[in-house]
Symmetry: C2
Subunit: 167 residues, 2 copies
DNA sequence: CCTTGACATGTAAGAAACGACATGTATTTT
DNA sequence: AAAATACATGTCGTTTCTTACATGTCAAGG
C-alpha cells in the first residue's frame, strides 16, 4: 500500500490542499500511482492521525492546506530506504501491448495506430514537464524523472512502429 | 478491471489450470498485471459462467484444465479493439524513483544501488524470455514484448547510473 | 519409509480502490 | 446579471485485491 507515501512525497515537495494533491497526482504521478480525491481526503485524515502531516492553514472556500511534519519526512525516508520494494505492477497499457499479438493483423494494425497516437500525446506532455514548463523552474526535483519518461516513451514509440511495420 | 481479459489472454495462448495460470501471471505478466491464485480461481468460475472459458479436461491431483471459448476469443478481441484503454497505473517502483530526489545524498546513493541491482536481475530474466529460453520456441507470441522490456530496462539502467553519478 | 517440495484448488475476512452522490464557493466568461 | 467553470471537501455502496487459512495429491531424495 503506497498511497500514504505517495501523499507524503508530494507534500514533501510543497504543502497543498487535498484538491491540489489530486491534481498533482494526475499531473506528476499519473505514470506511477493513480489516486482519486475520494482516496486522498480520507488518507490525509489518517496521516494527520499518525502525526505525519499537519494543517498548515485555511484558505478560501473552506480549503485546508496540509504540510508534512518532521515525523512524516522521517517516515518517508524510512520507507524509501528500508522497506522492501514491491515490484508488482498493474498497468493496463502494458497488458494490452502484451496481448496485441493475439489479434488478427488488420485489427492489430489499428490498435497499434491508436497506441502510437496516445504515445505521442504522452511524450508531448512529458517533454513539457522535463523542460520545466511554467512550474517551479530549475529547483523542480522531478525533472530527472520526466526525462526518464521521455526516453522510455521514445523506446516504446520505436517499438510500436516496428510492430506496425512487421504486421 | 483487466483481470478477466488478462486470464482470457493467457488462455488464448494455451489452455491451462488455475495453478498454471498463476505461474504464468508471475512469469510473463509480472511487469504488466499482478494477480494471485485467490483471484484467479474465482475469476475462472466467473468466466465459465459467462461462457468465455470452458473446462477442457481433468488431470492428476484434482486439476482442471481450462480453455478459452470462441465467445471468449471474441470478447478478448472486442476489449483490445473497442474498449477505451485505461491509462492509469500503479507501479511502486516508478513511485520510488520519482521520490528518490527527496532523499539526502548518501541514502539516495544506496537506494539507487539497490535499484540497479534489481534492474540487472530483471534484465537477465527478460533477456532469457526474449531469447525464447526453454519455452515454446519461435512461435512464442510474446517474444516481441520481452524485447521491448529489455530495451526499456537498458534505458532505465542507464538513467539510474547517471543519477548515481550525479549524486 | 519418510520427509520435503512442487502441484493443485479453494474460501473468507479485512483492506483498498472506484464511481457516484452530495454540497457549496469563488472566479471568469458571456 | 447570469451562466459556466474551476476550486474545494467530503461520504457511501460496491467492487477488487490481499493475506491468511484450509486441505489434499504426487514425485523425488534421503
Amino acid at each position: 500500500m503506497s498511497l500514504p507515501h505517495a501523499v507524503l512525497g508530494l507534500l514533501a515537495v510543497a504543502p497543498g490542499t487535498g484538491y491540489d494533491l489530486t491534481r498533482r497526482f494526475e499531473a506528476s504521478l499519473s505514470h506511477a500511482w493513480h489516486a482519486s480525491h475520494s482516496q486522498i481526503y480520507p488518507e490525509l485524515a489518517r496521516l494527520q492521525g499518525r502525526g505525519l502531516v499537519q494543517e498548515a492553514g485555511r484558505g478560501a472556500r473552506g480549503s485546508r492546506t496540509w504540510a508534512i511534519t518532521d515525523q512524516g519526512l522521517a517516515e518517508l525516508d524510512r520507507w524509501l530506504v528500508e522497506v522492501q520494494p514491491n515490484r508488482s505492477q498493474r498497468n493496463e497499457t502494458a497488458l494490452r501491448w502484451f496481448l496485441l499479438p493475439l489479434l488478427p493483423a488488420d485489427q492489430r494494425r489499428s490498435a497499434l495506430e491508436r497506441e502510437i497516437a496516445d504515445m505521442l500525446d504522452s511524450t508531448a506532455y512529458l517533454e513539457a514537464a522535463a523542460a520545466g514548463s511554467g512550474e517551479v523552474a530549475d529547483d523542480h526535483p522531478f525533472r530527472a524523472t520526466a526525462k526518464l519518461g521521455v526516453r522510455i516513451n521514445d523506446v516504446m514509440l520505436a517499438w510500436l512502429r516496428e510492430q506496425l511495420a512487421d504486421t
